[in-house]
Symmetry: C2
């Protein structure tokens, strides 16, 4: 991590929630697991994340080294985003929420299941 973050406690659950405990962060991770990489693609997801929230969450994800910003060579000046290995390891949490939601929340459906992330 680039800067020391305030910890509410040494509890690993609390510290994990400090990084991903909100309604949006794991949806961006979900989208990256599904192969999305551009800002506009995240903003077009069905949950309709507001652009200021998306900007904020992407910055926090990059700062926490869960996501890497890079430039796609064919499209100069266009930033893209991808999960780092640390970010890819959130796959299991996303997958478990997917399974939990399908089992416990009526009306949910998984149109696309994130693929197991490949190692670099």
């Amino acid at each position: 991590m680039k800067r020391t973050q305030h910890k509410r406690s040494p509890c690993p659950v609390a510290c994990t929630l400090d990084l991903i405990g909100d309604k949006w962060t794991l949806l961006i991770v979900r989208d990256m697991l599904l192969g999305k990489k551009y800002f506009k693609d995240f903003s077009r997801s069905p949950e309709k994340i507001a652009t200021n929230i998306l900007t904020d969450r992407l910055e926090k994800l990059v700062e926490a080294e869960l996501v890497q910003r890079y430039v796609v060579m064919e499209e100069i000046h266009r930033d893209a985003y991808r999960l780092t290995d640390k970010g890819k390891s959130l796959h299991k949490i996303v997958e478990l929420m997917l399974t939990w939601g399908l089992e416990h929340i009526p009306g949910t459906e998984a149109r696309l299941r994130p693929a197991e992330p490949k190692k670099k």
Copy 2:
């Protein structure tokens, strides 16, 4: 669920985050998995949750049927809280965040590991 909740999308990840996607809810679930049942016990956890936030999250947990409010017979007029079976099933998500935090966030430590919840 007592009332129909607005769904951002049918995605089970998004719907799960609508229930537990914040910095506090899963810490209350963690505390219940560790055996805490009274309001004041949750409020004394090291993360120092504000009482208004705790009140709000407990109400939402009860409304979502993840937690049941009950009265301890030996202590009349004192509300207690316990996980329903649906709430207990969040155990895996808490456990995975614990494991993820220990592995990826320096300085975290698990003093107490929530026990596997027993079936009623």
